[in-house]
């Protein structure tokens, strides 16, 4: 695949990349950097595979969608890995403060925020989340349940005050 084709393949996903990155590290610059670092890690690892893939013009619409989804999953796999680690480091060093809005969500552990986003925003199945995050199935299910419970519980408590 030509470089410009790969860029065309990813370009419609920019907003989604940013959205997930910002949920992991709620800071504009840090989120942008996280997207780039995840993309770079993916490009370095998958360079041969990407260059050997067919050009966009020879692919059907369905194949382009499949290719796009596969690249999306590949990149957010690195985003999860880098983002979760970086988010914890930045919080430890108090390099950024939690946003005031959506404090229940940002109060969740980064891994839970990642899993909840993958499930409820990007609508990945539990199996796909297992594959993306590298977590065993029981852990993915546990994080979905805990995240959902904590979000709803926190909202209900807030509403009672």
């Amino acid at each position: 695949m030509k470089r410009k084709d790969f860029y065309q393949l990813l370009q419609p996903l920019t907003e989604k990349f940013y959205r997930l990155a910002y949920r992991l590290i709620p800071d504009d610059l840090q989120a942008e950097q996280l997207v780039i670092d995840s993309l770079n890690a993916y490009l370095i690892k998958e360079k041969k595979k990407i260059l050997a893939a067919s050009d966009l013009e020879s692919l059907s619409k369905k194949d382009i969608q499949l290719q796009r989804r596969s690249s999306f999953k590949g990149i957010i796999r690195y985003m999860g890995e880098i983002g979760v680690r970086r988010s914890s480091q930045l919080v430890d060093q108090t390099k950024f403060s939690q946003p005031k809005d959506f404090h229940s969500f940002y109060g969740l552990a980064p891994k839970v925020r990642m899993v909840i986003s993958l499930r409820y925003d990007f609508q990945f199945t539990v199996e796909e989340i297992e594959d993306i995050t590298g977590m065993p199935r029981y852990e993915v299910i546990e994080k979905i349940h805990n995240g959902r419970f904590l979000l709803l519980n926190d909202f209900n408590q807030g509403a009672q005050l």
Partner: protein, 107 residues
């Protein structure tokens, strides 16, 4: 609270509600689920309840939007990364020419 009158069949299909709503059920499971709902109209209220819960949950998840400036900067950075990291080592003069041409065209 434990629901005392929960039909075991209902509980089997209850687990599939989320998959049905987000479209992640396999075609076979989907047909089976739809057939069950057709024969048990009262089950529809449970689907509706779940749909509402998911919608509400989504409203508790932030949906940050990039500013125009961030979007431009991020797109440029992504393009730069792709063009730099997917560069093929030129084997001969023609490859070098091809790389330079591609870079010039996509600047």
């Amino acid at each position: 609270m434990i629901e005392k009158n929960l039909n075991p069949m209902d509980s089997k299909y209850q687990k599939k509600i989320i998959g049905f709503i987000d479209g992640s059920l396999s075609p076979d499971d989907k047909s089976e689920f739809e057939a069950y709902v057709r024969t048990h109209p009262e089950f529809e209220s449970q689907i509706k309840k779940k749909e509402e819960e998911i919608l509400f949950l989504k409203s508790l998840i932030p949906a940050p939007v990039m500013s125009q400036e961030t979007a431009e900067s991020l797109n440029n950075e992504m393009k730069l990364s792709i063009f730099n990291l997917l560069k093929q080592e030129p084997k001969n003069f023609m490859d070098r020419l091809k790389n330079s041409w591609e870079e010039w065209v996509n600047r």
